[in-house]
């Protein structure tokens, strides 16, 4: 049984950021993730925005960590080569009453430490964003927020943690957790048929001195398994449209509406990949129900057109929804109980706050280390860089040099997004290689374009089968059990003719 100083349970963006921060210290860290990849929950299905931080209530953890997290992200995204773009945001108001909300946000922003805010008239706002509705009469402008690739952000953090010695074990659902004589006994289960990483030893029992609960929607169950009930998860689903790049310049900033109800409301924003994202709504669901619905999508569509009437929804290429792990608390739940730490209730602005959550949890860990007189020191060397080849972003000379080095970069597999075979191969040569089509998509951008993998899917399935040394019929769309194909032609000679052959009259 392997023994660790600290076990992080869950590898969404919070778990990844915590592991990233902890990996700066001389610790034996393990990250246990129940799915076959990192960032498969709320992390891959959100707006992808690093909020400035005027929205959370002043004095809350959310307020503090959002502003700090967004500031840290700028530098970390640069170092770790995560697509990131400062585009700023506007909150628009359609009435004088809503202007008061903008003013409240402005004051909140000041209190929370947001700089570069300004209240504009509708006219001024439309000068900057010509497609804004004529009905917009006031707008709060802020220049510090950014758009980011949320899954790449989480991946980069997790990969960096692994490079610095943390151990990531995928396909490990925690099924037992108990403290015995100052150490935690952790029992996990590997799902049947799971595609394991090449070096996976299939070990399922671990011990750790400290356990960090970053289990997202499952954080409540994990907490309640070891401690008295503390918070109730109230999953909130948000549905989205993702529009073709043709619509990607409809707005150049993230456009919010003055929040009247719960949440930040429906936004319209460019994405860092050049598309237009529209959403989310906010609805209560039971568990991780990530379906979309007519009703929800219609509401998003209607609300978005209120801010930007000219959005061409016929350019939609994908709908999705994400379930945010909200709790009945109004804030993140970041608490330490002895050698157990909760990082729970990480709903929006969780992505923006992630790096600060990592720091905060590390402080909680430091308190434990001090209490228990456990050695806790920074490593002498910390690898804090990551570099990826993005063929389409290179200039002519760079492309030429790259292809000369490896002709696989001359083979464009995904034509919508111009992603080469070389880049797909690169993904297998990272600390966390992909095991599914969606895993490759998150790492390289294949299938993200307007044909949504219709053309390149079959080719990538072949590459995946070859790299993982599995039959093509075992290739997964994403999670364990999501095989794409149901059979091969090789065995069709044994097939029975349906219903014993058909009689024709």
């Amino acid at each position: 049984m392997e023994t660790f100083d600290v076990a992080v349970i869950g590898c969404g963006v919070s778990g990844a950021a915590i592991a990233y921060e902890l990996s700066k210290y001389d610790l034996r860290t393990v990250i246990l993730e129940k799915e076959n990849d990192v960032a498969t929950g709320a992390t891959k299905a959100n707006s992808g925005i690093m909020h400035a931080g005027f929205d959370p209530k002043p004095g809350s953890l959310m307020a503090r960590l959002n502003v700090r997290g967004s500031a840290l992200a700028r530098e970390v995204c640069r170092k770790l080569d995560v697509p990131y773009k400062e585009c700023g945001a506007m909150v628009v108001a359609f009435s004088e009453e809503e202007k008061e909300i903008l003013e409240r946000l402005y004051r909140q922003g000041e209190e929370n430490g947001v700089k570069n805010q300004e209240i504009l008239t509708g006219e001024e706002a439309r000068k900057m964003e010509p497609n804004l509705s004529e009905e917009v009469i006031w707008a709060l402008l802020e220049n510090d927020s950014a758009i980011v690739s949320p899954w790449e952000f989480a991946l980069a953090l997790a990969e960096t943690a692994v490079k610095n010695g943390a151990k990531l074990l995928l396909n490990r659902e925690v099924v037992g957790l108990k403290e015995e004589t100052g150490t935690w006994q952790i029992e996990t289960k590997i799902a049947e048929g799971a595609l394991l990483q090449k070096d996976d030893t299939k070990e399922t029992s671990f011990t750790a001195k400290v356990v960090i609960n970053a289990a997202g929607l499952n954080a409540e169950f994990l907490h309640d398994a070891v401690l008295p009930h503390r918070f109730k998860t109230r999953p909130k689903r948000g549905q989205y449209y993702l529009l073709d790049k043709i619509e990607g310049t409809r707005v150049s900033r993230t456009i919010f509406q003055a929040p009247t109800g719960r949440g930040k409301g429906v936004l319209v924003s460019p994405t860092v990949h050049g598309n237009l994202i529209v959403g989310p709504n906010s609805e209560d669901v039971i568990g991780n129900d990530t379906a979309t619905s007519w009703d929800g999508l219609d509401k998003v569509n209607e609300a978005a057109k209120k801010s930007v009437p000219s959005i061409d929804f016929s350019q939609n290429i994908r709908n999705f929804s994400g379930v945010r792990a909200r709790t009945d608390e109004d804030d993140f739940v970041l608490e330490r109980h002895g050698s157990y730490i909760d990082a729970a209730g990480i709903c929006s602005p969780g992505l923006s706050s992630a790096l600060a959550i990592g720091e905060y949890v590390t402080e909680l860990f430091a308190q434990w280390a001090e209490e228990t007189k456990t050695a806790f020191a920074k490593k002498e060397t910390f690898i804090d860089e990551r570099k990826k080849v993005r063929f389409k972003e290179l200039n002519a000379e760079e492309k030429e040099a790259l292809i000369q080095k490896d002709p696989a970069y001359a083979h464009v597999v995904c034509r919508c997004e111009t992603i080469t075979e070389g880049e797909i191969r690169d993904a297998f040569d990272t600390p966390i290689p992909p095991v599914s089509l969606d895993g490759i998509k998150r790492r390289t951008g294949t299938g993200m374009g307007r044909c949504q993998g219709g053309f390149c899917g079959p080719q990538i399935a072949q590459i995946l089968a070859k790299e993982l040394d599995i039959p093509e019929t075992k290739v997964l769309q994403e999670l364990t059990g999501s095989e794409i194909l149901t059979g091969g032609m090789a065995d069709r000679a044994q097939q029975e003719t349906p219903e014993g052959g058909r009689e024709y009259v």
Binding site: K399, R415, E472
Partner: protein, 433 residues
Amino acid sequence: MYDLIIIGGGPAGLAAAKAAWDKGLTKILIVERNWELGGILNQCIHNGFGLHHFKEELTGPEYAARYIDEVEKTGVEVRLDTMVLDIRQTERKEDGLPVYEIPMAGKECGYTCELTKSVVLAMGCRERPRGGVVIPGTRPAGVFTAGAAQRYVNIDGYMPGKRVVILGSGDIGLIMARRMTLEGAKVLACVELMPYSSGLNRNIVQCLNDYDIPLYLSHTVTEIRGEKRVEQVVVSEVGPDRKPIPGTEMVFDCDTLLLSVGLIPENELTQGAGIEIDRRTKGAFVYENMETSLPGIFACGNVCHVHDLVDFVSDESERAGASAADYVLKKKAVSEAAPVVTKNGDGATYIVPQRIRPENVEKFVKLFFRVGRIFPKADIVLTSAGNEIARFHKKFLAPGEMQNIVVTKEVLSKATEELLLTVEEIVETEVGA
């Protein structure tokens, strides 16, 4: 320096190459991203191609082979496994013609930039994905576009499902219904939003009826269920507004949903080059000779507008190839006069070409268009400046079938600035009784 670079080695590119060569161009290059020529025809193993062009029924690979053989007899250069990355205008002129720079990446050629006097865009089209029609529900494995499924079955040799529902009754959907059935799958239903199928009657009879596959017209898929793999799809009837009618839901237990919900011209390069795009066809605006808004750049086949028959792709592409040759060899004077703009009026959804330079028209120009609904009988009426200048009687017009009319130079001479095409339905009144 090439005379002509053709982007795409499918039916459009091949026909354009052959025609340009026959017209006297000698420095021609076809750039094809796949490892073989033929494009999507390679996976269309069913028959029914070539009835117009070759007067016989060929399969897709056979139709492609006819053109590949023709091109191989010429001196046309072919680069396989090569992807064009961009089309750039340069400052350079050669023989008074603007020179274009085409960077490309290929297994053999690496990264290179080629210069050319003319370009034929022949990139074809792609299928609309699930998002294009917005189907709510979960996002499990088992949702394929019909073309992706066709590739898995016919090229890779894998089955994408065992119990299948097909959304959309376009020809690819119908063909795949039969193909999957023959390969042992159970196709439960073919579901069509419109009150009519956009596929050919022959395919409804031979692909659905032959195998007792029900066709649900005025229905659509309203929900996909299943967490990891499709488990069920919900099909609802739609009203005249094409919105689902509550209470009409039918649930199919299936593991696969194939989508045959439309094709979109693949115009990444076209847009990148700054060529004007028609929102109706989703392809480039073209003149009577298939030339786009950039001089010397031509478009043909499905990248220009989506065709239903490959025979018409070949015809159109031969015109584009020949026009490119005329352009390079300066067989036609460049006109400075304002063109006649074609406009689709009532009943028509688009027209190709969108612009006509009458002085470039030798004898006639063919107008290709689609109608917006089914017309059992109709007159196609051409008007210009409020005056009717031509009228054509037609029977059985359906949106799924591209129509064409031949406009003579004489008729064209009556048009000024604008040429409006409208479809007037002829309602039969009962005589006697």
